[in-house]
Symmetry: C2
C-alpha cells in the first residue's frame, strides 16, 4: 500500500513537503503529474519524461485506455507500465470526468453511467465496480474512485444529490477494492474524491465523509470547471482543513502555475493538468522569465535560448527564433519542443516550491516568483 511521509510544513502557510512511497518508487511532493491520456504524454518520449522533464509520476485516463487499446490488451501486456515502457508510478482517473463531459452522449443512474464512445458510437456502462476493475487491469499505482463531477454553476439541490451519489459510489468502489487483488504483483491504492460544487456546507460534509474512509490519500474534484479562482481557493482551503494532514491531497485538473502555487499554500500536494501540453502545442510557453506566445513576430529574430534557466535539454539547445520558425512552418518538432519545455517548467516549479518549503522560505519565494512567471513577454 501507498504510504506518505510528511517532511515539512511551512510555518507561514499550509504548504507541505512530503514523500509518497509506492511499489514503483517514491514521489516527492508537492508534485505535478503530466497527463498521459491514451498511454502517452502527447508528443513526448518516455525517456524525455524521466531525463529532461524529471516527471516522477504520470496520469492515465481510464476512459481513453478502456476504449483503446482496451483492458484485454493491457492485461496481456502485463499492465500499462509494461505496455508503454514506464517504470515509475502511474495514477489513473476514474473515467467519470470524461464521461460527464460527453453531455448528451451519457445517462446517469444509481447503478453508474451509460455512455456512447466518441470513437465508434458504441454504448458502454461504467459502474463503481467496473471502473475499479478497469483500473486494476491498467495496473495504476493510484486508482481514483468513481465520482460525478457536477457542472458549474449548479443549483444546491443538484449539488447535494450528486455529492451523495458520489459518496454511495465511493463505498461501492472501496468494497470492490477490498474484494479484488492487484493483477501484477504490486500494490494499488484508491483515493476518494471530495465533491460538493462551490457550496461550503457541502464541501465540508463531503470532506468529512471522505476523511472518515481512512484511505491512503484524498482528492478534491469538481473544481477548475469554470468557477472564479477565488471560489476554487476558498473551497480548497476549507477542504484541506478537514482532510488529514498525514495523507497526500490531490487537487484534480489544476491548473495554471499561479493556481498551483496558491493551492500548494493551501496544503495541496498533487496536481495534474493538460495546460502545459495543450497550450504548448498552441505555441504558449511558460518560462522562468514569463509567458511567451512563440508564434508572435517579435520572436522571429530572437536567437536567445527558449529559457535561459536551462530547465530541460531543449531550453538551451534551441532558440526562440528557431522554435517560432517551427511553429510557423507547422512542424512536428515545434509541438515536441514546446511540450517538453512546458512540462519541464511545471516540474521545475513544484521542485522549487518544495525546496523553499523545506527551507522555510516558501511565502517569500512565492511572492517574488509569481509576478515574474505570470507576466506576458
Amino acid at each position: 500500500m501507498l504510504t506518505f511521509q510528511l517532511q515539512a510544513t511551512d510555518p507561514h502557510s499550509k504548504a507541505r513537503a512530503g514523500c509518497i512511497t509506492t511499489d514503483h518508487g517514491q514521489i516527492e511532493t508537492p508534485i505535478f503529474m503530466p497527463v498521459g491520456t491514451a498511454g502517452t504524454v502527447k508528443a513526448t518520449h518516455q525517456y524525455e519524461l524521466t531525463d529532461d522533464i524529471r516527471a516522477q509520476i504520470i496520469l492515465g485516463n481510464t476512459y481513453h485506455l478502456y476504449l483503446r487499446p482496451g483492458t484485454e490488451i493491457l492485461k496481456k501486456a502485463g499492465g500499462l507500465h509494461r505496455f508503454i515502457g514506464w517504470q515509475r508510478p502511474i495514477l489513473t482517473d476514474s473515467g467519470g470526468y470524461q464521461v460527464f463531459s460527453l453531455a448528451d452522449s451519457r445517462k446517469l443512474t444509481e447503478e453508474g453511467a451509460r455512455f456512447k464512445s466518441h470513437i465508434d458510437g458504441s454504448y458502454h456502462l461504467f459502474t463503481p465496480e467496473s471502473v475499479i476493475d478497469i483500473q486494476r487491469a491498467i495496473g495504476a499505482d493510484i486508482i481514483m474512485a468513481f465520482d460525478e463531477c457536477p457542472p458549474w454553476p449548479c443549483d444546491e439541490r443538484y449539488a447535494e444529490e450528486s455529492m451523495h451519489l458520489t459518496h454511495r459510489w465511493l463505498d461501492r468502489c472501496i468494497a470492490r477494492m477490498q474484494t479484488t487483488e492487484p493483477l501484477y504483483g504490486y500494490g494499488q491504492s484508491v483515493f476518494p474524491i471530495v465533491q460538493g460544487s462551490t457550496i461550503a456546507r457541502l464541501r465540508r460534509e463531503s470532506a468529512e465523509y471522505i476523511a472518515a474512509k481512512d484511505m491512503p490519500g484524498n482528492a478534491i474534484g469538481g473544481l477548475s470547471v469554470g468557477e472564479p479562482p477565488e471560489l476554487m481557493y476558498e473551497m480548497t482551503d476549507l477542504v484541506t482543513d478537514i482532510l488529514p494532514a498525514h495523507k497526500p491531497r490531490y487537487l484534480m485538473g489544476v491548473g495554471t502555475p499561479e493556481n498551483i502555487l496558491n493551492a500548494i499554500a493551501l496544503g495541496v500536494d498533487m496536481f495534474d493538468c493538460v495546460m502545459p501540453t495543450r497550450n504548448g502545442r498552441n505555441g504558449m510557453l511558460f518560462t522562468t522569465e514569463g509567458i511567451i506566445n512563440i508564434k508572435n513576430r517579435k520572436w522571429a529574430e530572437d536567437f536567445s535560448p527558449i529559457d535561459p534557466a536551462g530547465i530541460s535539454r531543449v531550453d538551451t539547445l534551441y532558440t526562440k527564433a528557431y522554435l517560432r520558425h517551427l511553429f510557423v512552418a507547422d512542424e512536428y518538432l515545434a509541438r515536441q519542443i514546446a511540450s517538453v519545455h512546458n512540462l519541464a517548467f511545471y516540474l521545475w516549479l513544484v521542485r522549487e516550491a518544495r525546496s523553499h518549503i523545506l527551507a522555510g522560505t516558501f511565502p517569500d519565494w512565492k511572492r517574488t516568483i509569481l509576478p515574474i512567471i505570470t507576466r506576458r513577454l
Copy 2:
C-alpha cells in the same frame, strides 16, 4: 574545401568505402542523409539524430528555407547550423527539384526559373547565381548546383536541351562560387549534377562534362522520378564508370533499402530520401527482420520489441503492440518513434554496407540481407 579519402573498393563490385572531411567533421561513406526540409528532420530532435539515429550529415531544402525562415534570418542567426542547433555537416539541394515540381506555377528561361510560392502565392526567381547566394547564406557544407530535372518519360530532344541548359547553369554556378566567399568562416563546396534522363548517350555526355569540372564531389540527378529501377541502375552504372573514383558520388533522392544497396554496388557513396520519414509517418517500418505495416491488426497483441536488433533506443524501449496503439489513436509519439526507428535503420544499413565493403564481404552480405529486409512481415 571538402576532401575525400577512398578507403576500400570491393573486389567483386564497384562498391566503395571512404571518408569525406568537411569543416564540420567527417562523414564515413557510404552514407544516408536524413532530409531536414525546413530546418528540421520531421518529428525528430537534433539529439536523436546524433545519439540514436547516428546521422553524420543532414540535408536541407533551399526552396523551403529560402521561403521560410528566409535568408535574412538565417544570415542573422549565423547560418543554418546555428539556427537549428546542429554541429555536423549539412548539404543543401539547389531548389531546382522543388521548383520543377511546382509544374504550372513556374516558368523556365535561360536566366533561371520563375515560380510561385506554395505558401503565399508570391513570385520569385531562382537563377544559378541566386541559388549559390542562398546556399552561401544557409551555410551548407555541400552546395548543389542549380539544374533542371526533366520529368520521366521525356523525349530525347527535350532531354538533350535540358541537359545543355543544366551544363550552362553549372558554369554560372561555378563562376559564382569562385567570386563569392563563405559567410561563416568555414569552407563550402559545390557538387555538379549529371542529367540526361534515361538516354545513355546523354548520360555519358553529361557525366563527362561534369567530371571535367573537377569539383570536390559529383551528383547524379534526374533518377528515381518514375522510371523502372532497371533503367535507374543502368544509368547509374554508366555514369559511375565516368565520374572520377577519388571523389564522392551522390545519387539524389534514392531510395528504398534495396535501391540503396544496389546503387552502392554500382559505386555510389551518398544518398538521401524522404522515404524513411514519410513512410514511417504512415506506419510503414523498415526493420532488420522485414517490412512492417504497424497499423495492421496482426500487431495488436505483439509485445515483442519494434526491432529486436535494437538499432536505436526506441526499438527495444517500445513494443510493436504499443506502437500500433499509438498509430490507431493518432498520437504524435507514433510518428516520432517511427521516424527515429526508420532513419536509424537506414543509417544502420549503410554502416553495415560499409563494414562489409571494408571486410571484402559486401556481395555475399548483400545477397543474404536483401531478401530478409525486403520481405513483408
